[in-house]
Symmetry: C2
Subunit: 564 residues, 2 copies
């Protein structure tokens, strides 16, 4: 894979470029950071013609290795106003890699307010006017495209939220069932795609097959070992059974699962959303677990069925059950599943929008626990009411509208469902990651109430995650000792590309990615002094352990100082 | 004057402090910057209990010197998220100085959502519950307070916008006619006052008299000379006749008076709002010019009467006629006067709200030129509709809501009515001033289309304005050669306080103020790289002179480097 497809929406022109020779260790998030640094003026408005959207499969996406099929999106974020990478599973990364495509760069803005799609197959890429797709919800959109282009296509798409350039908008990716259920959800990158006038990217890779590694045996053996490791791994085992909700019992008792807009404390009926309960309910309705991408052996994605036994939503994740559930005082499983589907349809981040609705509850616009009012608000968002569009701009925006000062965001982005007071390493990540408040940028629950050693834990996790985000590996498939992945990656990358790199080179993928991202953010005007959590995290004690966020700020500020 | 009144709204407690000995050159804006630097964590949320609102009369406010009665408000701004000072004329600065009050510091937040007033007289200050004042418009509020406390009081107040913590909200000050017509309008400081639960500060100085300078003769002579200078000054003469609209003919032809949301070009009927026209119309209706503060000899404030011959609004300023007029394609004088009154009632900045409405026009929500729809939108703002409240959050917020990327703001604050492309020194001020886009921070129209020498002009003007904002002098009363004010101030300050300071000491008032403000902003995370105008200012040519903003960025970035 060494082709870069450049889509210029100002000229409505496609150019095919070769990626530079030295880019063999650049893929996914790392490549995206490099391109944005080189091509986007960091100070530009995220919705301006100067911003670019980079779509890049991981370095191992098209191989037969399991759980490596994540697709990465990068741009200056309308939400954080800094660089953002957001990735997701689904089927498109594999297809792009198999088509030999290392990245798609979308730039410029169409002169006319038109709706376009980009169609990519082995013959190249075309920009096609598609006025009939304007305003479509994601599921309907994908069905329409499948009817036209065939069931086997992969689709990258935005819902009406992205078209309306909402800062909480996502980019959806089709899963193995052909549903737009996987979302690159954080950072509002759907708005950047929307600003380029692109409703969907259709990828047809039917003429292609899995990438053959240069050293087939080494590759096969390493994959076999990795699969064995994961099969033995307790975390992976639980994920396989219960998906990400597997931790709800533990996390809600620890207090790190947010409740009552971060005021904390128990929520009645929490057992309704325990991983085990969801699994039972879902099985009884004909639902199942699946892998969001081909070949995944963890298969943590819940294909959730409604009371009528029909598919309601995929996947039903912990973050959603927290941010549209407990943090709003809601434990009604079916209501949250319905909200999840609505958000997927509209194309908005369940974390960002959930936390925005929590602000409405704080301001007593909606009562805590009123799931029907939350569904009503999501309907407003779908229909584009003024209030709905405020919520679609995210948590900080909604809080400003309401005149509230207790705002759980970092770099303008809502905290995901890990309260930093009860999981201090992730708190450090929220502070210091170039990604803002994003648990997928680096999470570690060891000794999580203590303020000792958390900066190192966060740093290690951040570098590891920046690395796996560059090769396309899923962080939910990390074994307990995540650092073993470096050795696995050395072997897989050498086998795939016929190189002779070392563990250090692999770790440098992550380090260089973070360096590039920090450089972009500094050029965009981000100052380290802003690397801190909102004040209430340091003063309001979180039940049941009465903890505050108390990691030393100087230690946090120094986290990446050695990277220069 | 050496008393500091500290109002703690968390404890509902007043303390009286003496200002430090070394603070004799600290007043108004300079004092406010010093206090905020010392007492407010720069990183705090502007609406949090940690922010403070400083109210400080200028150093010469209570004397008989003319045009020195400006009152200064300072806080971390909900709009710019950096330090902001906003000042206004009216009568309260004189009263505070005569009561011996150097500053009022308002801190903390009330535990209950209550409405309070602060009553200050020669016996001290009291915090008084005032639930009946909640939600009142400014004019009604002031009348209510005058009925209770007497006609001679001075009132500092917020309208419903400040209570709702809107980022475009102002702090109103009563003028000589007892009307809340003067507004410390920029930076949304009304929201900070609102967050403290204070609806009004009532100042009763009836037991006091003008401050007697220590060296009476020197003071009297200097004042006499200053008055003579102003009487000879052409600018002051025009201001006296026509108020700030006196420049509309020239500025609209130059292109620096914004039109059509900064797309520029002529607006039909512009002659309806020429200074001369307004003057004629107003005289015929029984309106007049007045000085907003006692003793002012420029008297540039237009007391504007409506078609019915009754008072409609005071004052009717150039900025309002541009931002609610030409920049919206509107030249209907009476309509703009009505909008002005509505903004004064609600307590919102005509610049910020006008520019926000221009964004609505850009998005085709309202048609350019539709004055009745604009009045309708201000009614929505008054009534607190969802859309009205969006507009009340200002230009950048409204643009984000609409998904627009062409946003005429600097440090989050809307440009006032001087297009930086046609007045490049003020463009430099928008970039580099710690105050963000604020023409009162430093304006200079010499050779205004050229990009040469504008950084020095902006710098000189910024230092001079920071100086006069600290002594309470009105920048509209600056003679053509503004720098002569340093010599005037040396004499007046020496005469007033019995000191022996030099011109350098006076200039250092301004320099130190800017240093303090820059220090605050850097601590708040403001990076110099953000000191630039939105991209379209550098690319879109402004008619009729086809100019872009092209002052060298490196030169701008170096503007205050020598201050350390």
């Amino acid at each position: 894979m060494n082709t870069i497809i450049r889509i210029d929406m100002a000229q409505l022109k496609v150019t095919i470029e070769n990626s530079p020779q030295d880019s063999q260790l650049l893929g996914g998030r790392g490549l995206s950071a490099r391109i944005l640094n080189a091509e986007v003026p960091a100070i530009t408005h995220p919705l301006s013609h100067e911003n670019k959207l980079v779509v890049a499969p991981g370095l191992l996406a098209g191989t037969m290795a399991p759980s490596f099929g994540r697709i990465s999106f990068g741009a200056k974020s309308p939400l954080t106003k800094t660089v953002k990478e957001s990735n997701a599973g689904g089927t498109v990364a594999q297809k792009l890699d198999r088509l030999g495509i290392k990245a798609i760069i979308i730039q410029g803005m169409p002169k006319e307010n038109q709706t376009y799609i980009v169609y990519i197959d082995s013959k190249g890429a075309q920009i096609i006017k598609a006025p009939d797709l304007k305003g479509k919800m994601n599921y309907d959109l994908v069905t329409t495209l499948q009817n036209k282009y065939g069931k086997e296509i992969g689709v990258i798409s935005i819902g009406p939220a992205g078209e309306a350039k909402m800062a909480a908008s996502t980019i959806a990716i089709t899963d193995q069932d052909g549903r737009p259920s996987r979302h690159a959800a954080r950072g509002g990158l759907g708005a950047v795609m929307g600003s380029k006038g692109i409703k969907a990217i259709v990828i047809n890779a039917k003429d292609t097959k899995a990438i053959e590694p240069i050293q087939k045996e080494l590759f096969k053996e390493t994959v076999k070992d990795l699969i064995e490791t994961l099969k033995q791994d307790k975390g992976s085992q639980s994920f396989s059974k219960f998906g990400t909700p597997n931790g709800i019992k533990f996390l809600s008792q620890l207090g790190s699962m947010p409740s009552w807009n971060y005021h904390g404390g128990p929520v009645k009926g929490i057992e309704n959303i325990y991983g085990e309960t969801i699994s039972e309910v879902n099985k009884s309705r004909g639902g199942r677990m699946h892998g969001c991408m081909p070949g995944c052996i963890v298969q943590c994605s819940i294909v959730f069925h409604g009371e009528d036994g029909q598919h309601l939503t995929s996947a039903l994740e912990y973050e959603t059950l927290a941010m549209l559930g407990t943090n709003l005082g809601i434990t009604n499983l079916d209501a949250v599943a319905q909200m999840d589907r609505m958000c997927d349809e509209i194309g908005v981040d369940t974390i960002e929008v959930g936390s925005a609705i929590a602000q409405l509850m704080e301001a007593e616009v909606i009562e805590f626990g009123d799931d029907q009012k939350v569904i009503g608000m999501l309907k407003e968002l779908r229909e584009g009411s003024t209030m709905g569009k405020i919520v679609g701009q995210g948590t900080a925006f909604t809080a400003q509208f309401l005149g509230l000062d207790r705002v759980p965001v970092s770099k303008g982005q809502a905290f995901p469902a890990h309260d930093p007071r009860a999981c201090k390493a992730v708190g450090v990540t929220y502070c210091a990651s170039p990604m803002g408040a994003d648990h997928t940028a680096g999470i570690d629950y060891r000794d999580s109430l203590s303020n000792e050693g958390q900066v190192k834990r966060s740093r290690d996790a951040q570098i590891l995650n920046a690395t796996i985000d560059s090769v396309g590996y899923c962080y939910l498939a990390l074994p307990a000792k995540g650092q073993v992945m470096y050795e696995v990656l050395v072997k897989l990358l050498n086998a795939r590309y016929g190189n002779n790199i070392k563990a250090e080179d692999v770790m440098n993928i992550g380090i260089n990615t973070i360096k590039d991202e920090l450089a972009f953010n500094h050029s965009a005007g981000w100052a380290d002094v802003q690397n801190r959590l909102p004040g209430f995290m340091e003063t309001e004690k979180l039940p049941p352990n009465d903890v505050v966020f108390d990691v030393q700020q100087e230690e946090i500020d120094a986290i990446f100082k050695d990277l220069g």
